[in-house]
Symmetry: D2
């Protein structure tokens, strides 16, 4: 059950409300986000919804039978749009492209990428400065130094930054340099990290776990929302299957289903989704038709020399062709 | 190695050729299809391809390192198009729609479906008369009787028939009533059935196994081709994954990859692919963008009353909307 | 619902019974096995079980809510033991070892294997004469000729034969040479084959599909049982998972669960289960602890020269050591 | 390549060594553990191993072609045994039992559990004070307060504590109260946490990811080892498969394979492995036969009232029966 509170609810009214909920055996969770105050009631006893709805201080009340509540479309029917400032918005009705290298490698690389994005009308740049790597002996990213040099050039160019955060301690130092925090697949159930990202004033792109279910992804988003941050995007990036012909198995079904289950924007990651450069375009275009609100993809001036993920990274020329096709496909979809 | 033979190769020339192959330790398989004679050589010793290519009776010779040979695009670069007669062709460059009920239920149902398809310009009707069912106590189809009544009405209307064959003994009685034989997911490695379908003069639509790999699907097609039948379509129909939110997990990646690996047409089955009516349209449209040459989908006048698979079956109205969108998406794709 | 009929039920009594079942909206399936006559009622209306149980000709009646009925332990609490003649029985309370090569290759190989088995006190020999192979160009077995030479030597030695049947037409010619028919993983949902094997007087070992569920395996067994053959063993042989370190992923859980769900014997196939010779012994021993009633395993005089599956086949020496350990582990388990 | 350094290597000798490695294009990683100093060289150029081995300050040098180095059995042939003090050791040659509730709930529960363990001769108690939960609204553990009360009673009783740590910040406060840190499946690729646990003086039990590969698990262990902590145990706790009949699919194969690939102890978690109380005993016993060096299992005075995981938790009586069987099975295995 989700109860939205009046902004001027009094302390005695709040106590009375919580008492009423306890009486019908609902555990209460107080949630305060950027936009509103809520009480989330968790229980399974039948009760008369009007008996609660009528109490002073209650703006509205909804039953939500899903395990996830605040991110469910059963509660909030209208899709969430996330503003990045400068007129840039992500969500139903527009199509967002985020592109850039797997890893931030050098100032020259950042400049070159920004030039490419500007020319192509792409306004959000991806790139890793903290890299989760299977082996401890692999390149793990340039860290804060890389982020700062990137930020300086991106700000000048009016380009927004999305980058992965791997641990709670990194959030604060990164905060002023980041426009969107990305949570990677390996951290999709790092609940402490989700808690902490629920308390910062930045949008979060949350990737599905390597073998995460739809349900788990939505509950992970619920962690962020219930800690106070409503600005969440979900990202399908391929799952682990028995099929060894691809790096991952892009689960196009998840995009279609997530758009029906939640009001949050859904982003496709075709680069990791199939993990093979040759097929990134087809998977990206398929994602548009399945309902994605945007893509996040890997591009590099010389993919074969990239520090990481070269085999799934597009060249600028390939990327330009794909941006154009994505926009055409989106336009067609919007007419449907 | 694939050697195409001259049509007028002499017996002594053939013997000499086989001897030469044995000398370099290649096992030979003689293949005669509707269109040509081949020898498939299987071995892994290095050799000078010219020493074989120069022999009398050899039209051409190719090395093919894949485990599948005749279905590989490494050998035949040009995509296969399959003619069904009456100007109807399946393959790269056109988009084929096959639609109809899961099960053939009655003459009235067949008539109604045909009327729907005619009005929509759909020329191939799907329907099951032999149904593979998990439980022995479930409806298993109307059998030959159902096929005959269907065929009578379809022929009148100029509609082609695709239907599933489950065992070798069914092939001969079904032959004159069927335009395309379908091999279901559960029989995708029923090698005796594949052998037998290689020997009949009908196109075959071969579905990927429930957890079949790309490689296994192509090798299953090789069974049909190497028995003499070049007219094969491959079908992605969803795989089994850990995700329980859908009936199957449509593997959009397979469509993209199959189009790169083989010259055979690739058909998408969005109905089984996700198994939920609400999402069939998005999955079908995604399949077009991934490169599918057509779709096979379930439609029914009253899905909720269908004998089987109602939960993934579109109504006529939903289907009409989807046909139109599929054609628009295909048109856009062809411009890319 | 399962109704066992009196052996002397009269035709009018039977009609009355079927009518009563139709009245409560249960579809009836008549089943006649080697041992008894049954009516399987499929429906989901609540009813008073006594109103049916009281009818003349009814020996007993049970509700079985599983989708599978006759193979369920909810109906038949006592475990099934299958006699192979000569005092040889398979099922709870004894431990059966079936061993032999993947493929029958020659008379000499058969003789050598039999000598090994005799010395080790193993009374059932496995071997393939019809081989399901991914590639059409691979060795597909010696066929009937191989079976006949095998049978001649096995009969002399008092060794029983288990071998795979791949299609309905093979059953009749194979029948007199076979003691147990094996259905392979690729045919575990070849329903026509299951139907036919329900009508022959030989035990059947039914392997789980490559990605078959517990439920599907039990329903496949129900096909055989409901066609008249109660003598069925189930076999866990590894499933397909994302893990590429093994050929298959032996699902030890399935053994434990099958023993709880069904009264049929459960056999483990550690050779295919993990597919790596080095680990066959540990997986076999683990299967004993999980509750298996026996193992089927690949042995060969020179595994590295076997026509097929050499990488998962034990030498005679390795096998002898394992037989002894299996018997000790079984003995310990029986004390628990 | 792993180079163990002389403990009295001089700075100039070290520089010379690193220079020599750079010259043959090996990236060097300096590793200092509780027990020794190493240089891990990562590269793939062929070179003469003697040219490095001969350098002053090198104690020995090994080539290790696996992606993981220090945890590989190719380098360290002898199995690692981990001492917990008080004569308690974990590893090849002994069998360790760790048992206790899913969550620490109260002082009374802790006392009761300790009494049960003492009576049964079990010396390590498991229990969660920080609980990873899919839903933000579920019980997340008693935290430090719970750990402290537990520790007080455990120390008195001479019982060791194993408990899960979820984030870097928790390590330091937990350190003095914990005998073994557990890393849960959801954190198995939380690389920052692994880094940090490599720097503390406590053994770590590292669980396999929910769909983690053998390779990923070993590389995760390499993170801990290469940060300085050699005392690591690996834990198989069931993987995610398509089979919905169990909570997880215990991968018995992993136990057998890990024992062959690494010198680290391997522990089985049958409670999570199958997730159903009725089968925990069989899965635990199977794990012994597959080669496990111990089990970690959930027990509770009243499983049906446990705060979490009750459906997979044994009662004291069930647990006692299982401890005895495990010891018998281990004894038999040691005779093999």
């Amino acid at each position: 059950m989700i109860i939205q509170l009046d902004s001027h609810i009094s302390a005695p009214q709040l106590s009375a409300l919580e008492e009423a909920l306890n009486k019908i055996e609902y555990k209460t969770n107080r949630v305060t986000t950027q936009y509103a105050d809520y009480i989330i009631g968790v229980g399974n006893k039948p009760f008369d919804i009007r008996s609660i709805g009528i109490l002073p201080g209650v703006r509205d009340i909804h039953r939500v039978s899903d395990a996830y509540k605040l991110v469910s479309k059963k509660w909030r029917v209208e899709d969430t749009r996330i503003s990045l400032g400068d007129g840039l918005e992500i969500g139903t009705g527009s199509f967002s492209i985020m592109a850039g290298p797997c890893s931030i490698e050098s100032a020259a690389q950042v400049e070159e990428t920004i030039a490419h994005l500007k020319a192509a009308g792409v306004r959000i740049m991806r790139g890793g400065v903290y890299k989760p790597r299977s082996s401890p002996y692999a390149f793990r990213g340039l860290g804060m130094e890389g982020l700062k040099l990137w930020h300086e050039k991106a700000r000048e160019a009016g380009i927004k930054i999305i980058t992965e955060v791997m641990m709670v301690e990194q959030i604060e130092p990164m905060l002023e340099y980041v426009d969107i925090f990305q949570v990677g697949a390996r951290n999709s159930q790092n609940f402490n990290l989700l808690d902490a990202l629920g308390q910062v004033d930045r949008p979060v792109l949350l990737k599905r776990g390597i073998s995460g279910t739809i349900e788990e992804l939505l509950q992970a988003a619920e962690y962020i929302f219930s800690n106070g941050n409503e600005r969440i995007m979900l990202c399908e990036r391929g799952i682990r299957s028995y099929e060894g012909a691809y790096r991952n198995t892009m689960d196009i079904n998840a995009i279609a289903m997530l758009k029906a289950k939640t009001h949050l924007p859904v982003i496709a990651d075709p680069s990791h989704g199939i993990g093979l450069r040759q097929f990134v375009d087809k998977i990206a275009l398929a994602s548009v038709m399945a309902g994605a609100d945007g893509v996040i993809m890997e591009v590099h001036g010389q993919p074969e020399k990239a520090f990481s993920d070269g085999q799934q990274t597009l060249s600028y020329q390939e990327a330009n062709r794909l941006y154009s096709r994505l926009r055409q496909a989106f336009e067609l979809r919007e007419q449907f």
